[in-house]
Subunit: 649 residues, 2 copies
């Protein structure tokens, strides 16, 4: 404990150490169970199945034809056919009661048992029939067109060995030996408890300071995917007693417990103490040498693992994948699928995480070779995680991985269907609509990565994507985009005009503080939500403020020194609107659609130009041509009209 009464992490473990601790302490396994064949898919056999029958169960005709004594056909030919008397017929599903004497044959269907006395099947193609006799045009060898009993699987042979996973072929094999039920390892019941005063159930209203409960749902899905049975033990606040009660009932009814902590260190401590107080032997490690996922608690109770997961979904999922999934697989004897990996070239230098193993999410984009773009995001950023393709492991002892080094990307999914079109740049709601129309009308799938205008432009210049959406205001010329495209070394024709987005001042509904414009910013009771330096909106704002300073006859520096919140750096239009909507600021400059999303009033101050830069190498791609066509289409403009403040050419 430090002076503030906060728990300081101690006994940090590596993933390997944590796995070893759990291997020793978490010895409990779910009971095996008997399941019907139609429930067996994906399960793991817990008791070797031996065959009670031969496969095939009898010597079976492999062809339609005649069951014969093979020696009776010796010497037969097209020119000198032999004659055999047909003494009967046997179909699939029945058995011939008599026998086949020399000189005779029995008509036989594929799948029927070879009658007594016969030792081969003569294909119908090599015979002709009339008056109860066949002419034989070809000799057969003993066993020809016969599948012998037990030739596929013998009576007493192993059908499926303990530890085998039941797939489609195994279901077929079990059915073919007459098995209706198999004994399989139990699927572990995994208790899930989410904690945190800030979390509320999706679908309910989001009060100030609250967020939706992600971990319960995410862990449920992750447990299900790993082959476990998720059982929710509810969502509890930052309350020792409630956590204790939840944990206690989970310990009784499940095989493994996941308790995801809140995001603050204080709550982590409560979870830690609840686990420590209830479990025997208790806590094995407090903290992992990984990033993200450090605030993890590894514990055990009476042979069951109890894992305290970090509150942030991204961290929780990473720890789940590294620690919990292998554990679920181990105790259910499942094999688990190997991660798919690919080699890619790293697009920027990555510094190591100083003693922690770093699971760094990346986007994978492919041109001539695959490229891995690191995504440096907060572990709260689940949207960013969902858009990523995989992650790379930066070892704990590594100082850095240099740009352009080849790295191994572990893929989250299959990364198999490539998009027709890759866009990078600034996010725009109209672009979302454009891409929807493009998919609906032309079947072209696109992927848009939000890396900001400058990021998008550089990516085009480096040839990493097809298109970028940008809105960059040049301070000198006060024109949009073109100067930047030129400076990036791209030909002018690469810039395609997109549309205009109206910018203005967002103020709360009803304008309670009587704001008339940016000039009011000098008022002491007002707080401004300013955009980040480098953003076009900030350039625009500063230009307007410079005008105001001139009018007021004061220095720009002095003016902005008086503005509360001038130094703030809201990174998106949306965050400006949110700050005003939530009362954390009184006004801010953003696009009209963002203000409208928060139900704010809006005083227009000018339009910004959202344009597209085309990668010269992509200009002849069908997807790019269709994209540009779509941009000018009536359909797109009609659909985008629902957005406030956009104007289209």
């Amino acid at each position: 404990m430090n002076g503030d009464g906060r728990k300081v992490f101690h006994r940090l473990a590596t993933i390997e150490e944590a796995a070893r601790m759990l291997e020793e302490a978490a010895t409990h396994v779910p009971e095996p169970e008997r399941v019907r064949l139609d429930q067996a898919l994906g399960r793991v056999i817990s008791k070797t199945v031996y065959s009670g029958i031969d496969l095939p169960p009898f010597d079976r005709a492999e062809m339609d034809g005649y069951a014969v004594v093979s020696s009776d056909t010796d010497g037969a030919s097209e020119t000198a056919p032999l004659r055999l008397r047909v003494v009967g017929r046997v179909d699939a599903g029945s058995a011939y009661a008599g026998e086949v004497p020399n000189g005779c044959c029995v008509e036989i269907a594929t799948g029927a048992p070879i009658p007594r006395g016969a030792d081969a099947v003569l294909m119908v193609e090599y015979t002709s029939r009339s008056d109860g006799f066949i002419e034989v045009y070809k000799p057969v060898t003993p066993g020809e067109n016969v599948a012998y009993a037990g030739s596929d699987l013998e009576i007493g042979e192993v059908v499926l060995r303990k530890g085998s996973t039941v797939g489609v072929r195994e279901v077929a094999l079990l059915a073919s030996t007459g098995v209706r039920e198999v004994e399989v390892y139990g699927r572990p019941k995994v208790g899930i408890i989410s904690t945190g005063n800030e979390i509320v159930e999706p679908g309910s209203k989001l009060c100030p300071g609250k967020v939706y409960d992600v971990n319960s749902h995410m862990l449920e899905a992750a447990v299900r995917e790993a082959g476990g049975i998720p059982l929710s033990f509810g969502r509890v606040g930052d309350d020792m007693e409630a956590i204790r009660v939840g944990l206690e009932s989970a310990l009784n009814g499940t095989d493994l417990i996941l308790i995801s902590g809140g995001t603050s260190a204080g709550l982590g401590d409560v979870v830690y103490r609840a686990i420590g107080g209830l479990c025997d032997p208790g806590i094995l490690a407090h903290g992992l040498h990984i990033k993200p996922g450090k605030p993890t608690v590894i514990a055990a109770h009476m042979g069951k693992a109890v894992i305290g997961l970090p509150g942030y979904p991204v961290s929780a999922l990473m720890v789940f994948n590294q620690i919990v999934k292998p554990l679920i697989h181990r105790i259910s004897m499942a094999k688990g699928k190997g991660e798919r990996t690919l080699e890619a070239r790293l697009t920027q230098r990555v510094n190591g995480a100083k003693g922690r193993r770093w699971f760094l999410t990346v986007h994978v984009l492919n041109g001539v070779e695959e490229k891995a773009y690191p995504v440096f995001a907060s572990s709260g950023a689940i949207g960013t995680l969902a858009r990523a393709d995989g992650y790379i492991v930066v070892p704990e002892d590594l100082e850095y991985i240099e740009r352009d080094e080849m790295v191994q990307v572990r893929l989250f999914g299959d990364h198999e269907d490539k998009e027709d079109l890759v866009l990078m740049g600034s996010h725009c709601p109209a672009l979302d609509i454009l891409l929807e129309v493009l998919f609906e009308e032309e079947g072209i799938s696109a992927r848009a990565l939000n890396v900001g205008s400058m990021g998008g432009l550089s990516s085009v210049a480096r040839g990493e994507c097809d298109l970028a959406g940008i809105h960059l205001l040049d301070e000198e010329t006060m024109t949009y985009n073109a100067p930047f495209v030129r400076r990036a070394g791209l030909p002018d024709w690469c810039l395609v005009k997109g549309y205009r987005r109206r910018q203005g001042i967002a103020i709360p509904k009803g304008n309670p503080k009587g704001i008339t414009g940016l000039r009011d910013l000098i008022r002491e009771d007002l707080i401004f939500a300013n955009r980040n330096r480098g953003s076009g909106t900030r350039v625009l704002t500063d230009r307007l403020l410079k005008g105001i300073a001139q009018e007021l006859g004061i220095e720009f520096k002095n003016l902005v020194g008086k503005i509360r919140g001038y130094r703030s750096e809201f990174k998106t239009h949306s965050s400006v609107a949110a700050a005003v909507g939530q009362g954390r600021a009184d006004l801010g400059v953003c696009v009209e659609s963002a203000a409208a999303a928060y139900g704010l009033e809006f005083i227009p101050i000018g339009d910004e130009e959202y344009d597209f830069v085309i990668n010269p190498a992509s200009k002849d791609k069908r997807a790019v041509r269709e994209f540009l066509g779509c941009l000018r289409s009536k359909k797109f403009k009609e659909m985008a009209r629902k957005l406030k403040g956009f104007s289209f050419q």
Copy 2:
């Protein structure tokens, strides 16, 4: 039709043609549906989800510390700390009601919203606190340790685009934006009808000529795995009316119909006519240019596909994978996982299938490089299929693939956990037990491929496996195994003595025909089940028959000429016992355990020696040493004692 009234296949289609026909004719898709978040895993989004909130929903503290006005911290350092008054505290889940004036700060927990007036979070580590004030040891920049509203995902932004598959991360993302339900493409209901007089439900008694219904269960599992909902419309015999009725009700209640034909051409014809009679536009193709899977019917009714699958499970599964699975994926808008493939060296020449595309199953074994062993089996051989690792595609226009060429193997599963030990050779029930003990006691997993004694010996000689179980009788010396090992060029020490298996004459229970020995074989009322030429048992039998010929003073050739069934070539001990057990023969020579499995009486005639040949390169492998230890272990001998007729050293 040919003269026999059997349907001759016409209009054979390639797989590509069949897919194109279905693309045009099978346009029906299941209705989209709304599902709760906990049911959404694996489903495909049918309606783009836009976010109703920003992520995070407010400017969020990323660290425990103090919310400050960043300009208040300018110039702070360890040596010259600045002082700020603490005016309150805000926890995750709540919101601070007041604001942060200059010179003040608010204690803040990770996850809590930044209070009005503050623009950064100062980490607790860079402060010390006393008497309602903090000392600030480090300046913060605007926005430091703040995750801005909408920085992860903006209000109005696309959460999941139509066509996205919901994985664990997508569940998390949906939950985080407050989504409880999503609209997803419907899973197709797939009607399954099995036909054939020969099929009975697994678990029931197997009467003569019957086999268990594999296709119903296999297709159910395959449909489920492909993402469809299997609906069984029963098992019907070779009865036009019953098939018609089943097909009609399936057409009404499902999105796609699979009807698996019996194994005989006659039944195929009934199924063909039933489909042709009921469906509009009806049959599109009758027969596919593939092997196995030729007798496939491709049809459609009112936009729904109707596929007549071959009766043999192996063929049915191949057609399912090539035609039906992509169809299920297409109409449910699912992506489907790509097949895993690997490069392997072909161990023997494979001749093309003359105009048919051949899906040839292979085993993959790995030494220095992966090797692909073709498995030439009947399409009835589901056991063989289940043991195979994958298949290679032999193109229709190819004459042959030469031995040692590299081929691309499409894997059935993951082929990821390599066995510790690979055995090839002759199947033996005692070996099954040995491998079970080895797994239980030593955790060593083994894979045993039944390729016969000679096949196993050659594989060891070629270095393709670790061990082979063999029982080869040398006719000249009348000794087992050693002469063969020598001839294979292997050193003597490679042969390790295994155990002895008693051979003898199997006769029906109660010996109704009063058989006393092989000498009775000259009786005209008796039929002999003889083993295949080249088998040790056949060598032994012939040796005994030569003795009898000598005693009787006749030529061996004349003796065997009198024996009914002498020319038969039963390939396994089990098939000999089955033939006797099922009355297709009256006596045969096999090992005692096989006779016991069929409840037969047994007249011992001698022991055969079942030994192991070790690959010299594997002799130091732990798995091989443990195997040999296990072979001599008390545990193995105790467990193997339940088998009849085995004797252990």
